[in-house]
Symmetry: C2
Subunit: 195 residues, 2 copies
């Protein structure tokens, strides 16, 4: 049973049992999902249920794209030996070796919006994961040529990123990095106007 | 009171009363939000509540970004006269004149990931809106120089897109454009492998 407690804006949640529970009533409201999401680079060893992997992939597939071109392929990686082999090829993503599941996002540079649309798919997948208690982090630095060879990705396609997924070791940890304040980001009616 | 009925995968929802109701229990699970989201280009004249606008903007502000640089500004536009003036400057987004609210996403090209990160913020905002029954559509074609002048956007910044928001006239309309089938998008362990 998922335990959840709202307390002065803090969400405390037992992620360790979350994966046993797929009742949609128990899952998060979308805004709460966005608000509580944390970038996750340390994972528990728990397996990720099939349903959660399915929802993550579906969230990517159903993402809107420019002219509905859907310029992406999603490689679902569950093979633990393959995840181990990817780790040294991900200089800023060594934590992939602890992940139970990863998705490589492959886009088509023949489409001029391939990176923009791929990034939207990443965001959908990240939220679908967090909705089920699973965190991730966009790996920024990749040895793309070697990874493309390892994963049989055709040379003309682009490896946008890889998202390793897993249950966070500290799901209710405070945000480590600060966000800009609302008044630094929001403008009203015109640039530079506050309300 | 929000009425919602799940029926063979179709979500039927009375959006006309949705905006009166901000109980989080009534809002959508994130995966349902992603699954039921529809690109929206026709809007009802209903006002969008302050809380919903707040959540949309916050969803943008809280988006993850490369190295946490947050290379974006969000211009909230509620002035109906301004929305009217924007319409002729949006060749593929004339429907902005019916919107009750719009957000211009302005990014900083000095950051090499500005479009990717801006696209992630768009996706977060689109889902936060749909969570409250409000739809949107990424406007692809913009007369950027004229809009930047109208909105006082500094010349060195980039207008990524504008998102017009409103309650959809047909919230439960079927998806008009088809998505690729799962087997066209998903690969298992390596590119080209099915399971």
């Amino acid at each position: 049973m998922l335990r959840r407690q709202f307390c002065h804006g803090t969400i405390l949640q037992d992620y360790r049992t979350h994966h046993d529970n797929n009742n949609r009533e128990e899952r998060m409201d979308t805004f709460e999902c966005i608000r509580t999401r944390r970038t996750t680079r340390t994972f528990l060893p728990q397996e990720i249920p099939e349903n959660t992997m399915h929802r993550i992939l579906e969230a990517g597939r159903l993402t809107p794209s420019a002219r509905n071109r859907q310029p992406w392929h999603l490689i679902a990686i569950r093979d633990q030996a393959l995840l181990q082999r990817l780790a040294p090829l991900c200089p800023t993503g060594q934590f992939i070796e602890q992940a139970r599941f990863a998705v490589a996002i492959v886009t088509d540079p023949a489409n001029r919006w391939h990176e923009i649309d791929g990034a939207r798919a990443v965001q959908n997948m990240e939220l679908a994961g967090w909705n089920d208690g699973v965190g991730t982090c966009w790996i920024g630095s990749l040895e793309r040529d070697k990874i493309k060879e390892l994963l049989d990705i055709p040379p003309q396609l682009h490896l946008l990123t890889i998202l390793p997924f897993g249950y966070p070791t500290e799901p209710d940890a405070p945000r480590r990095r600060t966000k800009k304040r609302p008044e630094e980001v929001f403008h009203w009616e015109r640039f530079g106007q506050q309300r």
